[in-house]
Symmetry: C2
DNA sequence: TTGTAAGCGTTATCAG
DNA sequence: CTGATAACGCTTACAA
């Protein structure tokens, strides 16, 4: 492997000049720059990342911490990761992938060993123990998700509360008065995951405002869970005309159950989902949904970090405004004073 | 941040001694080792990764290259990544996440800048341009997937050919004689993705051996695609009694379509899937399936690299034998000489 | 516009 | 069993 010194020798310049050509931190005459570049080309020179990190005390690496839990929707995670990596590369950064089983220790490790310059946290809970570590060691960080107390932290997330409200608004405007919210698995709420609780709040408040009669049912990802939850909802509240669904894996079973029990979507039951667009596009009928902008969450997190590492400045919470796309799964509620075609026995 | 020198001073020993305490590369008296460890504790010392990489010319980092294509099943990718990261940590390695949009350049970059010691490739095609790069720069690599010419390469994959044959065996033994294979999206075959072609070959050969009448239908992930594919298959070959499905995302639409058209699974149509277990468990009835051992692929890739970086030795191709789990979606074919309840008009 | 040289924090060789 | 010390390859004042 050629070193900077080799390049300098070959180009007949000082080592520092080569370095400056590469970093652009001081002006270099067109001539010598050319010569240096040629030498780099010829010798196939690649700067040694470790040496660079040592001398500059910057690793040009971002650490991305992902959960290894399986009760979260994986494709969203993956999309975030892709977004992060792609954006980071645009700034000349690489991305280190950490799982959460190292917990806060992992963050401490990569930060204090200077393996990474900054950290991106995903799946942030309302009370998240990793936050204490971040504040304590003072590593630059961006959170995807908003904790209960975001003071001094850079966060980005979909505005889930507004998203929840948006779902209710849409249904209420269509005349729906009895709505069920099929949510994430119970554990997600017990962990006080921010996005889940905020969505619930938005939906609850929206329902109160519109006078919509609402129930919330957490739901695991299996077919049985979906079946049980749906059956219970329809039995207890046969006048239900609309479903809001936040648990993406439960959408396919839900759809086929409705079909099996001969309830047409959207004629008998309207559905509004909170999910990535490509999920909403894969069902028949397509789902009216509030989009989860996963890739954008990733790229924004990177942008936040780049800004922070350059400027400093005050921390901020970025809430991305939700947008609801009307597709085929929602329609005006069956008229007739809340009666249903499927009255209780 | 405390440095090794600080620790040495605090413990009253030479810097080299501290280094040796950490690496264990030469014996140190119980006493001094204690003192050093105490100093490390007190000063909260963490070795500087860059300095280490520079001095030892090993980064202790693995690079994992993932595709950013969306026509591959994402959860499998994620599971592989989790497996890789977890296993790598066990060996003291961190994992750098690269997307394939840098292509072979990305590999070159991290390898020649010594950002990573070795590379793990996923989504390996039969003819993969990244292989040339790997061989050329001589970086240690493990491929998840097997190229057409694996000479000199370390590979690991599910034995997809055997997996395909296994599916046919199972169905044939149940008396099925007309089978459709719903495969990956057309692009996957056009890219000559190894696993897809091998599966097809296994299925084709199995069908030939058993005298099973087989059609292969590539299928995109949308509901419409699934619907179209299924409709066409059933129209053209109404005597079809079994489906082999390799495209995980079309499973939910397929199931609900069968339900809608009043074909019972497994009474009218048997289904065998090639997919991760948790997918097979999420439908009703649960799917008879050949498991895709995603996490194991990841951990094996790491093990291969660790062995290679330690020993050298000849390269190897590890094909994990498939295992078929019988669940509720497959049953004996309807008897009666291949007649169907749904004859052509 | 360019060169010189002092680190950056480890590892590993060579003595003792 | 332990200590000095020369690399490792690059960045960045400080000079010229």
């Amino acid at each position: 492997m050629a070193t900077l010194a080799d390049v300098a020798r070959h180009a007949g310049v000082a080592a520092s000049t080569v370095s400056y050509v590469l970093s652009g931190k001081r002006s270099v005459s067109e001539q010598t720059r050319e010569r240096v570049h040629r030498a780099i080309e010829i010798l196939n020179y690649h700067p040694h990342a470790g040496a660079r990190a040592l001398a500059s005390s910057r690793s040009n690496v971002l650490a991305l911490i992902v959960p290894l839990r399986s009760d979260m929707y994986v494709p969203v995670m993956m999309e975030i990761a892709i977004g992060v990596v792609t954006k980071a590369r645009g700034y000349g950064y690489d991305v280190l992938l950490l799982t959460n089983d190292e917990g806060a220790e992992g963050i401490k490790r990569v930060a204090s060993s200077a393996r990474a310059d900054a950290v991106i946290l995903t799946d942030v809970g309302l009370e998240d123990d990793r936050i204490a570590t971040i504040l304590q060691i003072g590593v630059d960080a961006a959170l995807i998700g908003v904790p209960a107390d975001p003071v001094g932290l850079d966060c980005v997330d979909l505005d889930f509360e507004a998203a929840g409200r948006l779902c209710v608004d849409h249904l209420a405007q269509l005349g729906h008065r009895t709505v069920a919210f099929i949510g994430e698995a119970d554990g997600v709420y017990r962990r006080h995951t921010g996005f889940a609780e905020r969505t619930l709040r938005g939906i609850t408040e929206g329902a109160a405002v519109w006078g919509v009669d609402l129930v919330h049912r957490p739901c695991e990802g299996s077919y049985e869970a979906a079946a049980g939850t749906l059956a219970r909802v329809l039995e207890e509240r046969p006048q239900t005309t609309a479903l809001i669904v936040q648990n993406e894996v439960v959408i396919p079973p839900l759809m086929s159950l409705l079909r099996t029990t001969r309830r047409a979507v959207p004629e008998d039951v309207s559905i509004v989902a909170l999910c990535p667009d490509h999920i909403a596009d894969q069902t028949a009928p397509r789902l009216t949904s509030v989009q989860i902008p996963a890739a954008e969450l990733g790229t924004r997190a990177v942008e936040i970090l780049m800004r922070r590492m350059a400027n400093g400045g005050p921390s901020e919470v970025q809430l991305i405004p939700p947008s609801l796309t009307v597709r085929g799964s929602s329609a005006a509620a069956r008229t007739g004073g809340g009666n249903s075609r499927h009255p209780a026995p």
